[in-house]
Symmetry: C2
Subunit: 206 residues, 2 copies
DNA sequence: TTGTCCCTGTAACAAATGTTACCCTAATTG
DNA sequence: CAATTAGGGTAACATTTGTTACAGGGACAA
């Protein structure tokens, strides 16, 4: 098990524990890691890749909440582990991703034993709360064109590639908008010179 | 110090610690408990009353996130305690409120020592995350009239009184809308029979 | 090759929300 | 008391976003 990526985060004893109790899982782009209403029995710790976390309402409308990168876990998932409630969100792989699955019953034990685990869990909660605040800011205070711009920039960061393989419909779904509206705005941005449109691709100029 | 309200939550040893290390604070309706950008050195634990938590952007536009009731704390504040970052939110008293202020440096120590503290902190994070999700749902998926209805209902719950002393402007501010729009919708709801409007008051019929 | 499906562009229109302006009245202040 | 201010009602209009409809071209399978 290659734990290089998380070595700086945890104390040595805990790393050994993780190696012993955790299991590696590899998931492909597009795979659904966690789905709505699912019971979660493992804490997913991302070693490599990127996962997007999405909220959905009863009509099937959706909204992208945030991306989770390596060295992190999804606090929304931690919830479920603690209380054995069902997942309120869906997690989908953005790119091929590797994670360690840690049995959720170790959560509390490790909290009492390992300082670095406490820091890890609590700062993950902090990060997720902040991400949710950013999502709220977007939806509440920004107009759609600004949200779209932010979305594209985050996508570039999360994929480490400024040529995005994505359709207008997918964007519309992530932003809870409609395809026509997104096409309209993208066209305006292209005329603006901030990007270049192609079939299934958007090349960002920044 | 009257700790009756929180007695069921914590183990006896911890209660004694809280009594020893915490200090009582009484705040009046409208008082700002935590303000944007503030450093927080105490974990506020609500014993009696209700506090509303608000997000604001750089233009002064705002949005009500959620209410915090007794037996709870504000996880957004926990963040700040942990990392000594500045507050991302403002907390304002809805009604006269009593709280215990716990020095934030005890946070980590108690996490390692007391199971009930771990449960308390983690379930508070869980609650806050869920409240934020609800806020996101409102803003993203609901139309303004539905949001207004939900807002009024929550207000009634949080104040335990179905006659609300509030102006249309205050509502507009909490919902990040404008006074004219709120008045328009309230009037429609009055014609609907779901409430009764008066100067500075709204009487809910439900 | 032909047919089908998916992606994109565009126009015309509809709905939701925000803005401005003005009025009336209750409450408060001097 | 008069004067001022705050809360609320309403109309007209602007802006943003969503919806419907349709057309053209690329990708792909039969």
């Amino acid at each position: 098990m290659n734990l290089e990526a998380i070595k700086p985060i945890f104390e040595t004893n805990l790393l050994a524990e993780i190696e012993k109790k955790g299991t590696i899982r590899e998931v492909k782009k597009g795979d659904v890691l966690v789905d709505l209403g699912e019971q979660i029995k493992f804490i997913p710790l991302i070693i490599k890749g990127s996962v997007k976390v999405v909220r959905e309402d009863e009509n099937g409308d959706g909204l992208l909440l945030y991306f989770v990168d390596y060295g992190n876990t999804c606090a929304m998932t931690l919830n479920c582990c603690m209380k054995n409630t069902k997942s309120e969100i869906r997690a989908v792989c953005e790119i091929d991703t590797t994670l360690i699955m840690i049995p959720s019953n170790l959560m509390d034990l490790w909290l009492s034993q390992y300082k670095t685990w406490r820091v890890f869990i609590l700062s993950n909660f902090q990060n997720r709360l902040n991400e949710l605040l950013k999502a709220i800011d977007s939806v509440t205070f920004m107009k759609l064109d600004e949200r779209l711009e932010r979305y594209l920039n985050e996508k570039v960061l999360s994929q480490k590639n400024n040529i995005l393989k994505i359709t207008h419909l997918e964007i519309a779904t992530d932003l809870n908008s409609s395809r026509v509206v997104i096409s309209r705005l993208l066209k305006k941005m292209e005329k603006n010179g901030s990007l270049l449109l192609g079939r299934n691709t958007i090349q960002m100029n920044s």
